[in-house]
Structure formats: C-alpha cells, structure tokens
C-alpha cells in the first residue's frame, strides 16, 4: 500500500510544477522562486522535470505555459501550487485537457488560502509551501486518467418559498416550458412584499406589481402551486431528487370552492393576525390572508376554529353555497421527483422587543416597521390611515429609529441593507399623509442602489429632520414642559455634539432582517449549511451567489442575507437561469469520485454493506462478494476506509494517493530521491 521508491534515474512520471505568485498574494509571503527552484532540484528524482513560477498562473498566459510544456516536454502530470482547488481546479484541468492530457492528471495545491494568507513568518511559510508542493507531487504520481460522470437531469424543479424571489424563479422556469412545484407554507403566495403598500424608491404600489405575478404563478399550466405545505424530506442528488411535501389539510375542497368569501364573512371567530397583519388586525378562523390571495381558497385554522375546539358551530359549512367545507380532510404527503431545487425562504423581522430601552410592547405608540407598513397600506387595518394605537389620533410628530437590531454588537453585526430606504419611505409617507414633523435617527444613510440617493435628497427637501446618533432610550417619563403625554427620544446628536430629548407622538422602529427562526432545520433538510449568523452560504459570494455547495440546490432572495426587492428578483431569475442551463443540457457532469470493489480481493465479510447510507453496496449471494452500484454511490469513501481486505478503492482519493501525499507532506520523499 505504501509507495515504493522508484529508480530515480528512470522516473516514468514527467511532472510539471507551477508555482503561482498570485500578484503579491502569494509572492508577498512565500518565496516563490525558492519553492520553484527547490522543487526543480530536490523533487527531480520524484519525476519533476519542469518547475516554473509565474505571476498569474490562472491567466491565459499562465495556462498556455502549462499547455506548451505538456506538448513540448511531454509532461504527463501537472502540479499547480496556487489558490484553493474550489476556485481554480477546473481552470487548470481544462488547460491540461486542451493540451491533450487527461484533466484528472492535474493536482492543484493551495499555497494561498492555506499558506500565504494565514501565515506571517516568510521563512516558515516558504518551508510549508515546499511541503505542500511535495505532497502534491507525491499524490499526483498516483493519479489515473478518469472520465467525468454524467448524470441525467429530471426536467422538473422544486421552488421553496412563494415570496417575490420564489415567484420570479418559478415563472422564469415555467415560461421556458419547464415543470415547477412551488411550495409555500402560508395559505397564499406573496411573501413579505404582499404586506407592503409602497415600494422604494419609485413609490409604486406593491400590490399593483406583485399581484399580477401571483396570479400568473397561480394560473400557469407549468406550475403546481402547493400552498399551506412544507417540504419534510429530500433524498437523492442533483438531477434526481425525491422530495416529500406535507400538504396540510385546508378543510376546504378546492375543486368546489369558488373563493366567494362567504365563509370568512360568516365565521364568528376573530383571531389576531400575527402573520399578514403583523398583529395589528384581525382575521377569521377560516381565512385567506388577504383578498388578492393566490390561491383564492381559504384555510381553516384548526387551533382557533370553534368547531375544532368545541365541536359546535359549523357556520361556514352551513353557509357555503357549494358545500366546499370539509372538516374531515387530513394532511397529505406528496412525493415528487425533481432535478433541481431553488430555495427562497426569505427572512424574519428582528424582534425589537429585545431592545428593551425602545419600549416596543410596553409603550403603545412604538411600532415595528412591518406594523407601520400595514398602517400605511390602503388594504390594511386602518385603510391606510397613519394613526396611533388608539385607531383614531393622527400623530403630529413621528420619530423613526434606524438600525434596530442591525449594526449592533448586542444583536446583529450586519447591516440589514433595506432599513435606510424603508425609513426614508416611511418619512415620505408620513409627510404626505399627515404633514407631521418627522425625525430620522440614523447612524449612516446608505442609499447605494439606482435612484436611491435621489430619493434621499427628495425626502430631505420635503423637510424631514435627520438626527445622527443612536437613540439611547424611548420613554414616556416626562421631565420637561411639553413632554407630557409624549414619547421622548433621548439621543446624542453626534453632529451637533450634544444630548437631545425629542418628544414625539409615534415611534417607528426600523427593525432589521434576520434569518428564519427555523433556518438551521431547513438547511438540514436540504443538506446545506448556514453561516454563524444563520444566513445560507452561497457557493461563492461574488462569482456564484445563487449556487450552494450542494449540486442542484440553489438559493435566491433574502435566504442568503438582507436584500431589497430588485436584488431578490434578480436572484430569482439568476437561480432559474442556472437551473435551465442544466435542464436544457439534459445532463450534468460530476467529479468521478466513486468506490469500486475488486471481487478477487473481497472476502465477503459484508462490513461495508451496512456503512453506506445510500444503499449503494449490495452482496452478491452467488459469488459471495459485495458490489458497489456506481449510480447510487456518492463517493464519500467510508467503505474504502473500512474494508479490512483493502478490496475497495476510491477513484480520486485512493489509499495510494492519500498515503503518498502524507509522505510528501512529511518530506519522506527526500530520502528516496
């Protein structure tokens, strides 16, 4: 199993070693010339025939260098010492392929992420870089030519989350003629955007631009809309996922319901609507969240329905003109096959009750941003009137506090991206509808996207007052004349350099966005990971923002961090484009990392049989040996490590490759050379 030293005079491998400077990223810490020279001399006995260093190996000139050497010097192995294989492994493999060398005979070792960027001692870093190169050279000697695996792509796609990002993704795919399952856990699609009245900076009506999209998604022949539903299990891999979706009982027969709304009208049970109305309004126990809901069919909330709680009432059943109410309906589990998955599960609003000094929940006239959205909404609980909690008094002064729960080391360090613009929008709406004095309490104003700063200028010109400083406290304890009956904001005005007390009638907390409370559980269902904050991690933050580390699973919208509507829509489209490209190609190529069993070495002990979570290993009774089904094998290598007879080998990560890399990293090869 261990490497046998070969006759140094006649190494059959002709290895090229290429050390990248990466500008000064690597060369600033690692003495690249020394590494190159060392590899050329000390590893010559291990098959290194060419050693070069170059400013940017990934540039076309750098790649041509490799291609030229393969052709002219007859290299049959290549080691590139540069950045992480997750960044440029594909680049160098492709370059080798162009020169006629099997791409899998190339090894990329990381001396940037694992050496120059994390170490400061130049001497030690150069020594480590040599060891890393030595490990790569020993490993590449055991590489074998491989062919990528091709996996067929099921043409249907699962989109999870029916907010604007999910709707956009679903429509893009459906319009391209592909089948989509759009899953939403609430009774209607629409997401947070459906709660808004106006959208910044254009102030166009959210419902006017969103509801046509919702209707298109609801009616589209290629979209199967599954609301009041949640994904419970995902099995399989890219190209062929099997997804279990729990469809909660609506207790309404959708084939009979016309959406007339009589049940909602007649239902005697009023429930505070914590979701759509953000706790400001009521709904019934049988309800659609809002009149334009898609689908139009209501659901019965069994926790609040009088019939389900007490066994009497059935008013909706008696009065439904089509007999669509069905109290006996049960939850159903649907199983669907899809090739790709797009997650667009959105965000939760930061709970401003955690910032106790702002008094939300204690002081009646302190509102959250989502409550304020509902107040301003023409279809909201006040029909768009901006009034205090008593439901009638129009405020004469309003304080809007930015960055509540964001940019705050006690809560979330990140900027929630939308709060500045949202606060400016609120300021404009208050001015326009009430003429009240408006104060914005901000840390910095961040208006970076198209037409955002112009909107800020407009709000400034409208006479909104801006106080730069983080509000220390909101209190109703009056100390000075004129403060009685008001909410007083205690703040250090950092531009004027003095403490101020500003009495207002209403305070709006521009609360930040945070990951869904169940983001971790969602991540586990789909085999993804979340950052420490709880946002889902993109494959690459800049170059691959909608892909994830799991092939075939994409993310769009606020699931990966706070975003405004245009960015969420763009990501929905982007994710759909990524999915479409694989569907239209019909197949995807995967790393050929798979296990296989050498039947002559297999003793038939069956230890490996129980280790595979994918059921890829079966026992052939006739031959008394085990066998790997390559279509089911995912290449983790657990069985390879477990086989006591060493009969299982794993392509790409064979025992020879890893053991040799260990020898190389420990510089044991110096003794062979």
């Amino acid at each position: 199993m261990t490497t046998q030293p070969q006759d140094p005079a006649q190494p059959k491998e002709k290895i090229g070693v290429y050390v990248c400077h990466c500008g000064s990223n690597i060369a600033g810490i690692v003495d690249v010339a020394e590494v190159r020279e060392w590899a050329g001399q000390r590893l010559a006995g291990r098959g290194v025939t060419v050693a070069r260093d170059y400013k940017f190996m990934c540039s076309s000139l750098g790649q041509e260098l490799i291609e030229k050497d393969i052709k002219e010097q007859g290299l049959n192995r290549v080691v590139v010492a540069a950045c992480s294989p997750h960044l440029h492994e594909g680049t160098f493999r492709t370059a080798c392929g162009r020169a006629g060398l099997n791409p899998y005979l190339c090894e990329l070792v990381s001396i940037r992420e694992q050496v120059s960027w994390v170490h400061t001692d130049k001497h030690a870093a150069t020594d480590k870089a040599k060891a890393v190169v030595s490990g790569g050279v020993e490993r590449v000697r055991h590489h074998t030519p491989l062919e990528p695996l091709r996996v067929a792509i099921h043409p249907a796609t699962l989109v999870v989350g029916g907010g604007i990002a999910g709707i956009q993704a679903a429509l893009e795919l459906a319009d391209a003629g592909k089948k989509v399952y759009l899953v939403e856990r609430e009774p209607s699609i629409g997401g947070h955007m459906a709660q808004f009245d106006k959208t910044f900076p254009t102030l166009d009506c959210a419902a006017c631009i969103l509801t046509p999209r919702m209707v298109s998604a609801g009616n589209h022949p290629n979209i199967t809309l599954l609301t009041w539903s949640e994904v419970t299990e995902v099995h399989g891999y890219v190209g062929n996922f099997t997804v279990k979706i729990k469809q909660r009982a609506r207790h309404v027969k959708t084939e009979l319901c016309t959406g007339c709304g009589i049940c909602q009208e007649k239902c005697p049970k009023k429930v505070i609507d914590d979701v759509y109305e953000a706790g400001l309004g009521y709904r019934k126990a049988v309800y659609t969240p809002f009149p334009q809901a898609v689908p139009k069919y209501p659901v019965i909330d069994v926790e609040n329905c009088t019939y389900f709680r007490k066994g009497t009432c059935r008013a909706c059943e008696k009065l439904c003109p089509t007999g669509a109410i069905d109290f006996a309906q049960k939850d159903e589990v649907l199983t669907v096959q899809v090739g790709n998955i797009i997650l667009a599960t959105g965000f939760d609003l930061f709970n401003p009750q955690k910032v106790t000094q702002y008094g939300y929940g204690r002081l009646a006239n302190v509102f959250t941003s989502l409550e304020f959205e509902r107040l301003t909404n023409a279809a909201g609980p006040t029909n768009g009137a901006i009034v205090l909690r008593d439901g009638k008094t129009v405020p004469k002064s309003v304080g809007i506090i930015h960055c509540v729960g964001s940019r705050d080391r006690n809560f979330n360090n990140y900027c929630s991206a939308i709060c500045c613009m949202q606060s400016l929008k609120f300021a404009h709406l208050v001015k326009e509808r009430t003429g009240a004095t408006v104060y914005n309490f901000y840390i910095d104003i961040r208006t970076t996207a198209k037409a955002y700063d112009e909107f800020y200028q407009r709000v400034l010109e409208e006479g909104t007052l801006f106080v730069r400083g983080r509000v220390a406290e909101v209190t109703d304890a009056a100390r000075l004349p004129g403060e009685e009956g008001k909410l007083i904001l205690q703040v250090e005005d950092t531009l004027a350099g003095k403490q101020r007390r500003i009495p207002v009638d209403m305070v709006v907390l521009s609360a930040g966005l945070q990951p869904r409370a169940d983001a971790k559980a969602t991540a586990q269902v789909f085999g993804l990971s979340c950052s420490a904050d709880g946002w889902f991690i993109e494959k690459h933050p800049k170059l691959d923002p909608v892909a994830t580390m799991t092939e075939g699973v994409f993310i769009a919208g606020c699931i990966s961090g706070p975003k405004d509507i245009p960015a969420s829509v763009a990501q929905g489209s982007a994710a759909a484009a990524r999915v479409l490209s694989t569907i239209d190609k019909g197949e995807i190529t995967l790393e050929p990392v798979r296990a296989s069993i050498n039947a002559t070495q297999c003793s038939g002990c069956r230890i490996c049989n129980t280790l595979c979570p994918f059921g890829a290993i079966s026992f052939l009774e006739a031959d008394r040996v085990s066998e790997v089904n390559p279509a089911l094998c995912q290449g983790c290598g657990t069985c390879v490590a477990a086989c006591p007879a060493g009969a299982i080998s794993g392509t790409g990560f064979s025992n020879d490759q890893i053991l040799s890399q260990i020898e190389g990293l420990l510089m044991l090869n110096m003794e062979y050379a």
Binding site: W117, F614, C636, Q661, L666
Partner: protein, 162 residues
Amino acid sequence: MVDQEHFEPVIIGFTCNWCSYRAADLAGTARVKYPPNVRLIRLMCSGRLDPTFVLKALAGGADGVLITGCHPGECHYLEQNYKALRRFLLLRRTLVAMGLEPARVRLVWASAAEGVKLAHEIETMVAEIRALGPLRWRQNGFTPDNAHDAHAFAVAAEEVSA
C-alpha cells in the same frame, strides 16, 4: 532532551471537502492567522479517514494528527461523520494504549462558515503539542513501511486489555 524553545511540531490535518476544507479556505480569505505547523489533506468526507492514515502520519514523523469533519447532523453524506467519530474514539483508545498522549490526535467539527474556529483549534493544538514535545515514533523504530505492523500491534494490545 529537545530544546522546547526551538521545537516546531509538524501536524497532519485531514479535512472534509464540504466543510472543514472550506473553513480553511475561509480562514484564508478572511486572513485569519494561525501557526504554519499544520499541513492539510483534503478528503471527500471524514468517513474516508482510514485509521491507517493517522498511523502513517505519526510513524512518518508527524507530532500530531488533526481530524476534522462536518458537525453532527450536517454531514454531506448524511451520517458518515458519525462513523468517523466511532473510528476516532477507537483509534485514540488504541493509540493511548500504545503510550501516545491523547492530545496528539484531535477531532474537530468545523462547518464551512467556521474559519475562525478552525484557526483557533489549530492554534490550540499546536500549543498543546509544542508543550508535549516531539513524538519521535520515527526515530524509535516505527517506519512508514511497518505502520501496518504497528496497527496490528495496536489491535492486539487492544484485545488484551479488553
């Protein structure tokens, strides 16, 4: 006696392609600093870790071995990190029976987001092994080529103690 001041331990680290290798990438991108004593090997999964690899590294001159994988419940291959955990516990017991200090073989769970955590774990491990001093298995007769015999010896020792 080796001069502890100038003893630089060599640690071989095994990483999972889906979590800890990416954590190492992230540590790099974020320029988080850690000592240069650890040299990493990428596996597809911590479940790929054959205990022989650890013996090979220790017998080949490494002063410690770091094994890393996805957090329990987050394995890219569903549950193979649990198998890595089982093997790690057995292997460490065996190695301790052979007289090895338990701190020389360390298991760390690190998600792709935990670059800082991984760097911190490496830093701690390097400090601990620096304090323990060199292993010198290699000088004491275990060579890469009889690592398997060492394994056999260890298994035998384990059976006797059980």
